[in-house]
Structure formats: structure tokens, C-alpha cells
């Protein structure tokens, strides 16, 4: 099968590869780059386990082809924090927003994107924003609390700057 050259910046690092046009972004991240934090939970863009940020916007990487990321910037869970945990990740730990951890990278990325767009969401807004991410373990309660915990930290940090 023909291959297409792409250039993608992932977690701040420039990558050049030749991929089959049908390669999904999630498979490019997992198999070509070895970034297995981004998970696959369904084949229908319904579960959100594969959520990453593309040019700052939350997307489902199982719904995009790798070629669609050509010339763009991807942030995965591995790139969220250079040292230690990002406040969003810390919030999940504080509030027990994860159990098996499989949905977690997608949840964390979705929560991060939400707080970029809306630093002070209501509970309804949080639950609504996370509609596209399934978690079978936590019942979502811990996740919602984690988002609030993180929101507060991030607002405090912002105010301190």
C-alpha cells in the first residue's frame, strides 16, 4: 500500500514518518511512536479512551487519520506534565477519579481541555462535557470531583501569577 509522509509535533517533539493513508492517529501514536497511554476502547468514537489534544482541541484520535495531523501539534497524556503530575492528574489521584485506569488518559485529556475552555465550570457543565468519555469503573463521581479540585488549583495558580 502507498505511504504518505507526515510531520507531526507530539508532546513538543517533531516526528517525521511515512504512514499508510488508512492509519488512524491513535495507532500512529501507540504503534509508531510507542505512546501507549492513549487507549482504544471502541471503534465508533463513543468511549473517549483515545482522547488527545490536536492544536489544543480535544479530539478522538480513533476518528482521525494520522495524515490529518500532518503539520499539526498533538498533546497526549504522556506530554501533559514534564515533571510530576499536572493539577488535573493530581485531582484524579486526590479524588479517586480512577480505578482500572484504562479510561483515565482520555478522561484526563478531556478534563484538561474543558478547563482550558472553561476554568470555572458548574457540575452540570462538567458532566455534560464528559458525555463523550465512558468510564465503567468509577461511576463518574470521583472524576467530577477531580475536575473541581483541579479547577480550583489551576485558578489559584493563575491568580498567583
Amino acid at each position: 500500500m502507498e505511504r504518505v509522509a507526515i510531520q507531526v509535533r507530539v508532546n513538543g517533539v517533531e516526528h517525521r514518518h511515512e504512514v499508510e493513508p488508512r492509519t488512524l492517529l491513535v495507532h500512529y501514536l501507540r504503534e509508531t511512536l510507542g505512546l501507549t497511554g492513549t487507549h482504544v476502547g471502541c471503534d465508533t468514537s463513543q468511549c473517549g479512551a483515545c482522547t488527545v489534544l490536536l492544536d489544543g482541541k480535544a479530539v478522538k484520535s480513533c476518528t482521525l487519520f494520522a495524515v490529518q495531523a500532518d503539520g499539526r501539534e498533538v498533546l497526549t497524556v504522556e506530554g501533559l506534565s514534564q515533571d510530576g503530575l499536572h493539577p488535573v492528574q493530581e485531582g484524579f489521584r486526590e479524588k479517586h477519579g480512577l480505578q482500572c485506569g484504562f479510561c483515565t488518559p482520555g478522561m484526563v485529556m478531556a478534563a484538561y481541555a474543558l478547563l482550558q475552555e472553561n476554568p470555572n465550570p458548574t457540575e452540570e457543565e462538567v458532566r455534560h462535557y464528559l458525555e463523550g468519555n465512558l468510564c465503567r469503573c468509577t461511576g463518574y463521581q470521583g472524576i467530577v470531583e477531580a475536575v473541581f479540585w483541579a479547577a480550583e488549583r489551576m485558578r489559584a495558580a493563575q491568580a498567583a501569577d
Binding site: V40, D43, R136, I143
Partner: protein, 785 residues
């Protein structure tokens, strides 16, 4: 400060939060290739021929294996691990050869260099099917002249089973003041762990050893089944590793055909072979749960006391018997039919039925939610017929707290309980009597509030082995632990329990750190690898704390005993003269004369100065076989509003009061309850695996199968009571399934309570808006009472 009882944050979280978890599909072995499965599109068909030439010529393809190849290799059918006296066991092949019995059954395995190539080539395998008429639902399968699935099971009956005293029940009904009857369906559910199943197999022709990385709740059970029963190789030749497992809810207990298939394929092609399920494959092949049709009757005396209970259930087993399937609608169901109530006579009869659908097996709660649902629905219906409040009727029938240990008429002896206290707490938390007033006021205004109670009991930590053996289990249900102290005093704990999200690394560390007086970071929990842990039965049925952790406690006690003898020798005192506190052996009454745990550990390995005849080293193994089950319990309350114009249900509040004995880590308990409750709420309102009459599964993706999402769920409010169990050293009971066992009937009772003015007596789950709307459209509400 002791760790046990504290909301300690989880040790495992860092790797998951940073994307460094290692789930099966994250693993890559050198030379790895990929498998894809050709699956039956028919629910019932004869296989006339399979042509593999085109697939074999496709790019990257290394092998195409059919049922013939598996038969030639001597691969045996999938085993059944729980035998009932009348059980019929039709063989379930790893790869079908002559006939297929459900959609999704494996017909061929394609191995290729890449996953895409394997999937492409799978489309080129030509299977010539002769379609046969299917028996896709329970009633159809039992009807005279129905198509038969297996010659071994005439009339598609897998088994019949009964428990209790039929005659005593008849007598109870004969003298009853009132009998309440209910026909209901427990719909089929699909477990849907968000991590799809995956397996990676490798074979070393030099040693004849296999390694299987797989999504498993119990790697040793997988090893035993695949090695001894399916492949026919010595167990030590197969190492099974379950790395991080992304949820399971029962679905990863059982060995599956795909696992055996990749093991065989890896040997055939001489390269490691990986398969990772597409979500559709998970819907088609993961063991489903529930799926009962039941007629239940409860007899009462004039005061509203229960006299007897009679239950007849048809249990859909699917096309074959999955590993523990026969136990679920029998011993894990019929024995729970006393619930929290004193019921003098119970009789339960179950018919297991083969249908052309995916096999069912344990799904979170496994049998217990089905039993609890029946009881709690009957209690509500009875209260209505007696014209009393459902809370009052329940209270009248609770087993009193001084009656424990309590023997039910259906074989169980409850270890400990205090149902009234948890019940009271739940009513207070939710403000029950105020809600009843509010409900009456709103009804007068044409708004329909409903309050639903659920008093549940869970039986977990199946035991003792001797008893389960008499009931048909082909396994002992104890657990093992090995505690190994390194020369530096750091501790490794090897447990046969295996976490798939429960947080064992944290909870187990808390207990061990407390017992040894060391820090949490000094304890390392090792699980999920038959190459490292002694043996184990794994994690299901909420057994990790009551059984798995109890084994750990016993092993720690042995280690401490030896350490004490070493310390006494070094201090030249008798072991009885030592007191162990905060990681030090102190001579009683002689302050300052002491040996620290680290020093003793080092001495154990230096072995320069040990008591006469003592072996060096500091480690111990223990096997814990509890003397009984443990029985957690509680009361949950759901509050809903139903909108009759649209049939929508709004869940306003959910209160959960649970008693799992002393809590090791309240954070983890809360997490387990919330996750479980949401699965139960989803059963009540959303989820259902649906087949059409041809046996086609109509729900094969998240577009058709309604999973609960964050916006569906209210905040869950918690309360606890603490009633320790006398059957294990920590007094703990399990909590993994409690929420799921409790929630469905809390919500259904609430909805039916809201609909009472419309005279709707019962609706089957899931209570979708459409179902409610249809039930209401010809009815007008009667005036508020």
C-alpha cells in the same frame, strides 16, 4: 499513625495518570504478529466447507487455521468448572468445525504481519454455511418442536435445579392471608469493561514453554484451564501474565477461545501472536450476564409477616456453558433468596436453557442482583397491597440483629448483620418521611415523585472449599500469599488476588505496613503472574479482602513469628518476653532493649547467629480457606421524578448505606460503591443486550447499547455502618458488588412508586422513556390517596 482505616491515596495511580500503565494491548514482543478471527454471521448453521486459499495468498499472511487444524492438534473443548447433577455439557470448541451456535463464534484464525493485514485477509476466508433455524429466545427454545442446539441436551435444557422445601412452601401458601405474585424479566447485560479483551501468546520451541499475556482476573485459573484442559500440556510449561487490567466486572474470569487460539497460533507460526478485541467482538464474545425470566410468589400472614416464597426461573445460558455459568443462576442465586428477611419457607426451581446466543456467565454481582431484585420488588408490591408503607413492611420482616449466625432455609448461614441499623441510617440520610410528605403534595399538583428502597445482602468470599466442592465447584476457593522480607527489611507480598481496578496495591500495603510497623513505601505488592506468585484463585465475587488479604495476614503472622524468635535469640530473652511495636521487638519492661525489624531481617539472611536449627531467610507462605462466606449488606434509596408526557425518569437523589465490616480504605470503598451503583442504575434505566428472532445481536456498539455517562448520574450520598465478620482475621467483608446488587431495584421501585397513581404495577428493566410512555399513554392518574 496506622494506615488501615485511612483514605490513603492509591499507589497505582501515578503510572495510570501519566499513561505508563501496561495493559495487554500495550505490550510488544520481538517478531510479534497479529491474529484476526473469522466469526460466524449466523446464530445457527452447519459449516459445509471453508476455503482459505485466497486468504493465504493475501499480503503478509502467515497462516489460516480452521477447526480442522485445531482438532488435528488435539485441542480440547472449553472446560466447565461447576457441575450440577443434571447438567448437560455440550462441547464448546475453541474454533467451530461442524456447526456454529451463536453469532460471533470463531470459525477460523488468520495470522499476518500486521493487524490490518490479518483483518483484511479474514474477509477473504470463504465459509460455506447451511443456515439452520435458530432458537434465539428462552420461550422459543423450550417450545415443543424447537430447533435443538446440541444432541446432548434434548429440548435445549441444560439443567434443572432446585433448592428449599417445596412442601413447606405449599403449606405456607395454604395458610396465607395474602399472596403477592410477580412475573419479571432480568434483561441480558453486557459487561463492557472499557479495556477490550486482548491476548498475546509466545512459544519457545527450545523449551516447549508458552507465555500468555492476557486480560485476566485470575491468571492461575487461566493457566490451569488452558494448559491442563484445553492444550493438554503440563501447567508449568505455560506462564500466564495479566499485566494491568482495564476493568472486568466478571467478564475476565473465564478462559476464552481466543486465548487458546493465539497460543496454538503462536506455536504454529513460531512467532508471538497478538489479538486485541474490537469493541464489536467484545459485544459478541465476552460472556454476557443475567437474562432470566421468573415467576415469583410471596405469602404473607395478616400482619404482613412473610410466610413463604416460591420462585421459578428460566435462565438463559446462551449457546454453551461458560466456565462458571452453571453456578450463577443456581448457588449464587437461589441461596440468596432470603435476603435480609426472616422467611420460614423458600422454594426455588431453575431451568437452564440453551439458546443460540452468546454464553452468559458471572457479571458484577452474579446471581445476587437477580435474587435481590425479586425480593425487593415483591416487598414493594406487597406493601401496596397491604396499604402500608414499604419501609414499615420491611422493618417488620428483618432478621433481628441478635439472630446471628442465622441459618436461612436456602442453605446459607449468615455470619453477622445488623439490618435495622443500616436501614434506619438510610431513611434518615434521605429524609424519608419528609419525602413521603413532599411526594403527596407534588402528586396533588400532577407531579410524580417516587421513592425506592432496596435492602440488599451480598454473599462474597465463596467458602469453605469443602462446602463449595459438595455443591459442584471444580476448584477450591481459598487464597494464597507469600510474604518475602528482603535483607534490607523491605517487604514483597505475592498474592493470588489480582486487581483490575480495585486498588490492591494500596489496600494490601496498608494492612501489611500496619502489621509490620513499616512504611507504606516499604511494601511492594506483586500479583497477576503465574511465574511469580505461588498459586491463586484471583479476584471476583468480592473475595480479595475477605479471602486474599486474610491469606496475606496469615503469612505476615508467620514472618513475624520467625522474626520474633530471631530477635529473642539476639537479645537473649524468651520470645514471649518481647513486645512488637512500631517495627521493633522490645523486651517487656526494659526500655531501650530492642531489635528493629530491619536488623532482624538482615540477621535472618546473614545467618551468622540464628537459633539452633533455624533455617536462614525471612519469608512465609500461607493458604487461607475461610470457614464461611461473608455477608455484606445495606440499604439504598433512590428518589426520582417521572415525567408522564415523555416517560423520562430524572434521578434526583441516591443514598447508599453499606456495611462491609471495618473499612481498610474508605476512599476505595466509596469508589467501589459508586461504580457499582452506577452499573445498577444503568441496568434499571438504560442497558440491555438485544437479540432479534434470528439470533442476531442488535447491540454491537456503543451506538446501540446504552452505557451510563456522566450526565445520567446524580451525586451519590454515602453512609456506613460497621458490623465485623467473625470468619476472617480482619473482620472484613467485600464491597465490590454491593452497589450493583442494590441499585437496580432501588431505582425500579422508585419509578414504580412514582407511577402508582397510574395503576401500573410492574414494568421490566430497562425503564426507558419509551417503555414508560407506552405504559402510561392510555391511563389517567387516579386522585392522590
Amino acid at each position: 499513625m496506622p494506615y488501615v482505616g485511612q483514605a490513603v491515596k492509591r499507589k497505582e495511580d501515578y503510572r495510570f495518570l501519566t499513561g505508563r500503565g501496561a495493559y495487554t494491548d500495550d505490550l510488544t514482543l520481538p517478531g510479534m504478529v497479529h491474529a484476526a478471527f473469522v466469526r460466524s454471521p449466523y446464530a445457527h448453521a452447519r459449516i459445509r466447507a471453508i476455503r482459505t486459499e485466497a486468504a493465504l495468498k493475501a499480503p503478509g499472511v502467515l497462516a489460516v487455521l480452521t477447526g480442522e487444524d485445531f482438532a488435528r492438534e488435539g485441542v480440547k473443548p472449553m472446560p466447565v468448572g461447576w457441575l450440577l447433577p443434571t447438567l448437560k455439557i455440550p462441547p464448546r470448541p475453541v474454533v467451530a468445525k461442524d456447526e456454529v451456535h451463536h453469532v460471533g463464534e470463531i470459525v477460523a484464525v488468520v495470522v499476518a504481519e500486521t493487524r490490518a493485514q490479518a483483518e483484511d485477509a479474514a474477509l477473504l476466508v470463504e465459509v460455506d454455511y447451511e443456515p439452520l433455524s435458530p432458537a434465539a429466545d428462552l420461550r422459543k427454545a423450550l417450545a415443543p418442536g424447537a430447533p435443538e442446539l446440541h444432541p446432548e441436551a434434548p429440548g435445549n435444557v441444560a439443567f434443572t435445579w432446585e433448592i428449599g422445601d417445596e412442601k413447606a412452601v405449599e403449606e405456607a401458601f395454604a395458610k396465607a392471608h395474602k399472596v403477592v405474585r410477580l412475573s419479571l424479566r432480568q434483561q441480558r447485560l453486557i459487561p463492557n469493561a472499557i479495556e477490550p479483551r486482548a491476548s498475546l501468546a509466545a512459544y519457545n520451541p527450545g523449551t516447549g514453554e508458552y507465555t500468555l499475556y492476557t486480560t485476566s482476573q485470575n491468571p492461575h485459573v487461566h493457566r490451569l484451564m488452558h494448559a491442563a484442559f484445553i492444550l493438554g500440556i503440563p501447567e508449568p510449561k505455560l506462564r500466564v501474565v495479566a499485566p494491568d487490567v482495564g476493568g472486568a466486572f466478571g467478564s475476565k474470569i473465564f478462559p476464552y477461545p481466543e486465548e487458546a487460539a493465539v497460543l496454538v497460533a503462536a506455536r504454529q507460526v513460531g512467532r508471538p501472536v497478538k489479538w486485541a478485541a474490537r469493541r464489536t467482538e467484545s459485544f459478541l464474545m465476552d460472556a454476557h450476564g443475567r437474562d432470566h425470566e421468573t415467576e415469583a410468589e410471596m405469602a404473607f400472614d395478616a400482619e404482613g409477616r412473610v410466610l413463604g416464597l416460591r420462585v421459578r426461573t428460566l435462565a438463559n445460558m446462551g449457546a454453551y456453558l461458560s466456565l462458571f455459568a452453571p453456578a450463577i443462576p443456581t448457588y449464587l442465586y437461589g441461596t440468596l433468596l432470603s435476603g435480609q428477611y426472616r422467611i420460614p419457607a423458600i422454594y426455588c426451581h431453575v431451568t437452564g436453557v440453551f439458546t443460540n446466543t452468546t454464553p452468559v456467565d458471572a457479571y458484577r454481582g452474579a446471581g445476587r442482583p437477580e435474587a435481590s431484585y425479586i425480593l425487593e420488588r415483591l416487598m414493594d408490591l406487597a406493601a401496596e397491597e397491604f396499604g402500608v408503607d414499604p419501609a414499615d413492611l420491611r422493618r417488620k420482616n428483618f432478621i433481628p440483629k441478635d439472630a446471628f449466625p442465622y441459618a436461612t432455609p436456602v442453605a446459607l448461614v449468615y455470619d453477622s448483620g445488623n439490618y435495622e441499623e443500616a436501614f434506619q441510617k438510610a431513611l434518615e440520610l434521605v429524609g424519608y418521611w419528609n419525602l413521603r410528605k413532599e411526594q403527596a403534595e407534588l402528586r396533588a399538583k400532577g407531579r410524580y415523585l417516587g421513592i425506592g428502597l432496596s435492602c440488599y445482602i451480598e454473599a462474597c468470599g465463596l467458602a469453605p472449599s469443602k462446602v463449595v466442592g459438595q455443591l459442584g465447584a471444580q476448584a477450591g476457593l481459598w487464597e494464597s500469599a507469600l510474604v518475602r522480607v528482603a535483607p534490607t527489611g523491605k517487604v514483597e507480598v505475592y498474592t493470588g488476588s489480582h486487581s483490575h481496578g480495585q486498588g490492591h496495591e494500596t489496600a494490601f500495603s496498608q494492612v501489611v505496613a500496619d502489621l509490620l510497623g513499616v512504611s507504606l513505601e516499604d511494601v511492594e505488592i506483586v500479583h497477576g503472574d503465574t511465574g511469580r506468585i505461588p498459586f491463586g484463585m484471583g479476584t471476583y465475587g468480592s473475595r480479595s479482602a475477605p479471602v486474599g488479604l486474610s491469606a496475606v495476614v496469615r503469612a505476615v503472622e508467620k514472618v513475624l513469628d520467625k522474626a520474633r524468635r530471631i530477635a529473642a535469640h539476639l537479645l537473649e530473652v524468651a520470645p514471649e518476653d518481647l513486645e512488637y511495636r512500631e517495627g521493633r521487638f522490645e523486651v517487656k519492661g526494659v526500655p531501650g532493649k530492642a531489635k528493629g525489624f530491619q536488623e532482624v531481617a538482615l540477621q535472618a539472611y546473614l545467618a551468622h547467629n540464628l537459633p539452633e536449627g533455624m533455617e536462614p531467610g525471612l519469608e512465609a507462605t500461607a493458604f487461607f480457606d475461610p470457614s464461611n462466606f461473608v455477608f455484606p449488606f445495606g440499604t439504598h434509596v433512590a428518589v426520582v421524578e417521572v415525567f408522564p408526557e415523555t416517560g423520562e425518569v430524572k434521578l434526583l437523589r441516591y443514598v447508599a448505606v453499606d456495611d462491609c465490616g471495618p473499612q481498610i480504605n474508605p476512599l476505595l470503598v466509596k469508589g467501589q460503591v459508586e461504580g457499582g451503583v452506577v452499573q445498577g442504575i444503568a441496568q434499571a434505566l438504560l442497558e440491555e443486550g438485544v437479540y432479534d428472532e434470528n439470533g442476531q445481536l442488535l447491540t454491537t456498539s456503543y451506538m446501540e447499547y446504552a452505557m451510563p455517562r456522566a450526565a445520567h448520574i446524580p451525586r451519590i450520598e454515602h453512609g456506613h455502618t460497621v458490623t465485623p465478620s467473625p470468619v476472617n482475621p480482619l473482620g472484613v467483608k467485600g464491597i465490590g458488588e454491593a452497589g450493583t446488587i442494590a441499585a437496580a431495584q432501588a431505582v425500579v421501585n422508585a419509578v414504580m412508586d412514582a407511577l402508582r397513581p397510574f395503576g401500573v404495577r410492574h414494568l421490566d428493566m430497562p425503564l426507558t422513556p419509551e417503555k414508560i410512555w407506552r405504559a402510561l399513554r392510555d391511563r389517567v392518574p387516579v386522585a392522590a390517596d
